[in-house]
Symmetry: C2
Subunit: 366 residues, 2 copies
Amino acid sequence: MQNLRIPGPTPCPDEVLKSMSRQMINHRGPEFAQILNDVTAKLKQLFQTKNDVFLLTASGTGGLEAAIVNTLSPGDKVLSVSIGAFGERFATIAQQFGAEVIPLRFEWGQASDVDAIRQALKQEPEVKAVLVTHNETSTGVTNDLAKISSVTKEFDKLLLVDAISSLGSIELPVDDWQCDITVTGSQKGWMVPPGLAMVAISDEAWQANAKAKMPRFYWDFAKARSYLEKEQTPWTPAVSIVFALSVSLDMMLKEGLANVIARHARVAKMTRQGIKALGLAIFAEESHASNTVTSIAASDGLDTKKLLKILREEHQIVLGGGQQKLSGKIFRIGHLGWVTEEDIERVLEALAIVLPQAGFGGEKLK
Amino acid sequence: MQNLRIPGPTPCPDEVLKSMSRQMINHRGPEFAQILNDVTAKLKQLFQTKNDVFLLTASGTGGLEAAIVNTLSPGDKVLSVSIGAFGERFATIAQQFGAEVIPLRFEWGQASDVDAIRQALKQEPEVKAVLVTHNETSTGVTNDLAKISSVTKEFDKLLLVDAISSLGSIELPVDDWQCDITVTGSQKGWMVPPGLAMVAISDEAWQANAKAKMPRFYWDFAKARSYLEKEQTPWTPAVSIVFALSVSLDMMLKEGLANVIARHARVAKMTRQGIKALGLAIFAEESHASNTVTSIAASDGLDTKKLLKILREEHQIVLGGGQQKLSGKIFRIGHLGWVTEEDIERVLEALAIVLPQAGFGGEKLK
């Protein structure tokens, strides 16, 4: 079996896959209503929120677009806290829809600096919302969201959070950390195939929603709310993925959220230690290295493209490459969702064999 | 087994369901690239088009939004040809994004009148695009799209087509009929669970796209095109539903498009005859009655809500009710995708039993 270790889609447990092959039902009938209510209640537990939670039939990026268009108006100033490719994407969406984006960029591989955020909010009193990536999948860095939230709320701004690759895997108590919009995606820590974005909306976000003038129809949270009152979604949902999510949420609740989070921390630590034992360096600032994806710097002659190809073709192990300006400079190991120490051991064993085949150590030989 | 006879989601064949439980793969790897190329090529065959065809992870409604925002600018005039709830939806999306919508409404249950469309286009020379629903699911009416296309092209306007519940079931040669944007959804005639919208884009639509100023990111066709050149989708696609679509498209191609369309026509005719034999009337203007969904007028004391409830609870048959202003006034039988005469026979047999229990014939007794 292939060992799929990219930061999403993640492998799905057998029970989850089995539920995907369930026959269709009426998405406006009583049977689906019960599943939708149940899934929504379970998500609220794992989000640690009393906020409204909706399912959107979309990738995570659709959830980010929904966060923007439901809370902002063209011309609104937003502070974009960006530490990588997904931070840039969130900002670009806001810009496309007419927000005035004030970029606050940190070096890729670093977490954002909370004092710099405070400084930016002081300088730009008209900022309406702060956009932040909790876990930056492209660099393997987790921002200190609790602190970013504190400073955002000091200035009484909306906090829009890309939690696509963190929620359900890394601690993120949505209500305690006062996240106004929180977005995640089914194919990450949730152990479910891609096709659903899940979003939580705070009271403050609802107040913003009532005034927000960006055009919206498919993403309209007000429609999602009025349909959820009827135990439906506004548009035909990805029914099979809702079936699968129901099963995976039961698994997560059975394991217990604290245990799920501890398992991710344990597996991630083991990954970092194993990588360093192989003579490689973690690309991310280590104090903020992500517990869902580890980024590894290409050094000492390593050809990452060759590495990934040999791992895939000869060892049935699929890792991620670097994105955009990190292409060829890093590779990434996803360890979120359905993952144990054994999965990572297999990766580390294969790396020990393949690294020299992919040029690693070549610089020393020169 | 439940006999799900709503106009989508439709039942999926066993092979399709089985493919849904396949384990995840890397959506940016060579294996998915091959599937994506293959599915795209097969869709082009069934769309009868050389146009670009893209998969969007969304419901059909997302596909409609994509059609609007990719071709229009705020302030653009569009002629909305509307014969029911989904025609209204298409117009509302255009309006939400700032188009000036000129509504041309026909009575629900009727097809649109081509002369009236010509008249409207004469009166409004600045119209940029015509929005039309090929098959109006809410009323069970199929518009004469070939003629609507002719008149639209007489005036050299863009033709944006909601073909969600027609394409793959009812004749619609996309290129011959000069459709500029054509939108369909996986959970209709395609026999696949919901979660994918499929769209075709003509050269003229691409020219409009280059100038279109409506804000877009998730739906951006230019991004879809540049990623498809790399054999990818811009955002993580609903991988399982692509697996399923690949299987169902093979089944459709094996049956042959002409045979698929003929089967739909045959089953629909049998449905209408059976309904009339029960003493009920078809709600739709019969010359334009749909071959994918039959709408039946509630008459003679019939309580449609009671009817649907008894059918569901006692006969495992799920039919659709009326939507919006047709609520309680009609009920609907979906016969698209994986459907045979036997499925409809079961429905008709059950109706013979349940109709009197739901009040039908009560008026005569008074």
